[in-house]
């Protein structure tokens, strides 16, 4: 680093300037020297020492002080133009002038020096501060970059998870369809009952494929941000009853029990989106319900009044349930339960739809074991 204390200082310039000022001032005062006391030129000459001290530092001040004392003697002490001093009091005046000039010059120089150093330190600090600012900005940029990379990685992971889910999900019903269809075509002659059962399986699996495709389409719309409900008054009781009837085939082993009050208020929502919520919740419950258990669907009005309150729908199964720490995360896309054969988008779609309707969805423990999904929707006008 540069020696900042040396930077603002110019001893030769200071001394030269001091001497020049002494000469100019003395010259200017010659015409009036007999009309004033020696104190006036002495005070003015001290000023030149001050100037030299500020500009050139202590050395300049000393040199200028000596020059000024000499000039004072030559110009203002009788006899003029000689270095001779007649009166004793003039010696005293000369000595006092020199001492005062030296002291003031050195003090002023030191002060100026200190000010320059302080300014240099301040400049130094400013540079350091700017460097730190730059480092902080760079750090923030890198953090942001890292964040972006991790987001991209997460998107990539999600995309890979989606592909895995899609291939797994589509292939499972397709397997059943293909195996059954080819066997009915090329295989042995089946009795009528078996044949009917196999054909029913094909239809059910085709419907399942359709639901998977609907979910995947919704998921892509949600991710593209183009998932707006087109609202109308929806009779949730009718919707649930209709959907339960269509999904009857899912409940061969577990029993589905639907219990909806007749006076349920209408919901202000998108019928097909809410239908998807109910479908996904029922399919999810059927998947985890053990054979012989019951899946219960109930609903009730909530809030102050039946009209401006809202509706709460509950789908409760008696399966393995959702552990406490998983409850917030089951609604994330591509999060499938332990060993689950689902795509992991169904519950994410439920949450997106319910959120878009200004409602709430959560999962709790069914008394006695299992998972209970609770959907709250605002009532319609």
């Amino acid at each position: 680093m540069v020696d900042l204390r040396a930077a603002g200082r110019a001893p030769w310039l200071g001394a030269g300037l001091g001497a020049a000022l002494v000469v100019a001032l003395s010259g200017a005062l010659v015409p009036v020297r007999d009309n004033v006391t020696p104190a006036s030129p002495a005070l003015l000459l001290v000023l030149t020492v001050v100037v030299a001290g500020v500009v050139g530092g202590a050395a300049s001040a000393v040199v200028t002080a000596v020059v000024a004392a000499t000039a004072f003697n030559l110009v203002f002490v009788v006899p003029y133009w000689t270095l001779k001093v007649n009166a004793g009091e003039d010696w005293v005046a000369l000595g006092v002038f020199l001492a005062v000039a030296l002291v003031i010059g050195v003090l002023v120089a030191e002060q100026a020096e200190r000010r320059r150093a302080a300014e240099a330190r301040e400049a130094d600090l400013r540079v350091l501060y700017e460097q730190m600012q730059a480092i902080a900005a760079e750090r923030a940029r890198l953090l942001e970059e890292a964040g972006r990379v991790s987001v991209l990685e997460r998107v990539d992971e999600q995309r890979a998870a989606l592909l895995r889910s899609v291939s797994h999900d589509l292939r499972t019903p397709l397997s059943a369809i293909r195996a059954v269809a080819e066997d009915l075509r090329d295989g042995p002659a089946y009795d009528d009952a078996t044949r009917a059962e196999l054909l029913a399986t094909v239809c059910e699996e085709a419907e399942r494929l359709d639901r998977i495709v609907a979910n995947l389409l919704s998921m892509s719309r949600i991710e593209a941000g183009a998932f707006q409900p087109s609202r109308q008054a929806v009779d949730l009781a009718e919707l649930v009853a209709d959907r339960s009837r269509r999904l009857r085939a899912l409940f061969r082993q577990a029993r589905l029990q639907v219990d909806l009050p007749a006076d349920l208020p209408l919901v202000d929502g998108d019928y097909s989106q809410l239908d998807q919520v109910v479908t996904n919740l029922l399919e999810n419950a059927a998947r985890y319900a053990p054979p012989g258990s019951t899946v219960r669907v109930t609903a009730r009005p909530v809030g102050e009044g039946a009209v401006d309150g809202g509706v709460e729908l509950r789908v409760a199964d008696e399966g393995i349930g959702v552990p406490e720490w998983e409850r917030a995360r089951v609604f994330e896309p591509f999060r499938r339960g332990e060993g689950s054969a689902s795509s992991g988008v169904g519950l994410a779609i439920c949450k997106a739809v319910v959120d878009a309707h200004g409602g709430r969805i959560s999962v709790h423990r069914t008394p006695g074991g299992g998972a209970t999904f609770v959907v709250q929707l605002p009532a319609g006008g």
Binding site: H168, R171, T172, I177, V180, E182, D186, G187, E205, G339
Partner: protein, 234 residues
């Protein structure tokens, strides 16, 4: 008639397979979880097991390992996963064969037939068998002579060893690693490019019909030697 245990958590697949197997005179046992499958292998002693690798309670590969600890029942793995690694892993862990979803009933039945035949023959022909025959391919191990439909075929020692290894297990898939270690030696295992070259030469010498080859490539997994006459309709 065989006793066949089908392990899958998909009700539709179970229904389809049970109907298909029973209609062909087999007895179908069903299991929907790994634990249930292990229990049924122990209690009901099935002749062959169809095992889905994606089960709710445990990894299908773990089920296979557990079964292999005490049983050599033939296992045909059923997988919806496109990953070849899982198939190879399953074969390395002792599975006899695999079928990828979506599959046809005829394809699965063909694999089950091969697995049952190997079980009946006690795991392949006797080690001192001097002649191996798969369809019209005949290999005289003592004289190192090969014929296809009675026509002599001139094979190099490595080609002969490759073909003989496949012919010991007709219809069954053998992994790249297994073939490399058998034919080239235990220090080999990843040099699948050798296999591609030899398989292509063998197909030329056997005058394989590309539509119905005797030497079938299982991409990413290995090879199998089949009798085209026994092949299920695609």
């Amino acid at each position: 008639m065989a006793k066949i245990l089908v392990v899958d958590d998909e009700a539709a697949i179970l229904r389809a397979l049970r109907a298909g197997l029973e209609a062909r005179g087999h007895q179908a046992l069903l299991a929907t979880s790994g634990e249930e499958a292990i229990g049924k292998v122990a209690l009901d002693a099935p002749d062959v097991v169809v095992l889905d690798l994606g089960l709710p309670d445990m990894d299908g590969l773990d089920v296979l390992r557990r079964i292999r600890e005490w049983s050599d029942v033939p296992v045909v793995v059923l997988t919806a996963e496109g990953s070849d690694d899982r198939k190879v892993q399953a074969l390395d862990e002792g599975a006899d064969d695999y079928v990828t979803k979506p599959f046809s009933m005829a394809e699965l039945l063909a694999r089950l037939r091969v697995a049952l035949r190997h079980r009946a023959s006690g795991g392949g022909p006797p080690l001192d068998a001097s002649v191996l025959e798969v369809g019209d391919v005949r290999l005289d191990l003592g004289r190192h002579e090969a014929t296809v439909g009675g026509r002599p075929v001139d094979l190099t020692p490595k080609e002969f060893a490759f073909l003989a290894f496949l012919a010991r297990w007709p219809g069954r898939v053998l992994t790249h690693r297994a073939i490399l270690q058998e034919v080239w030696g235990p220090e080999y295992g990843t040099e699948t490019q050798y296999l591609r070259v030899y398989a292509s030469q063998l197909r030329k010498k056997l005058a394989d019909d590309p539509e119905q080859p005797r030497l079938v490539t299982e991409p990413g997994v290995g090879y199998r030697l089949v009798d085209p006459a026994e092949r299920p309709r695609p």
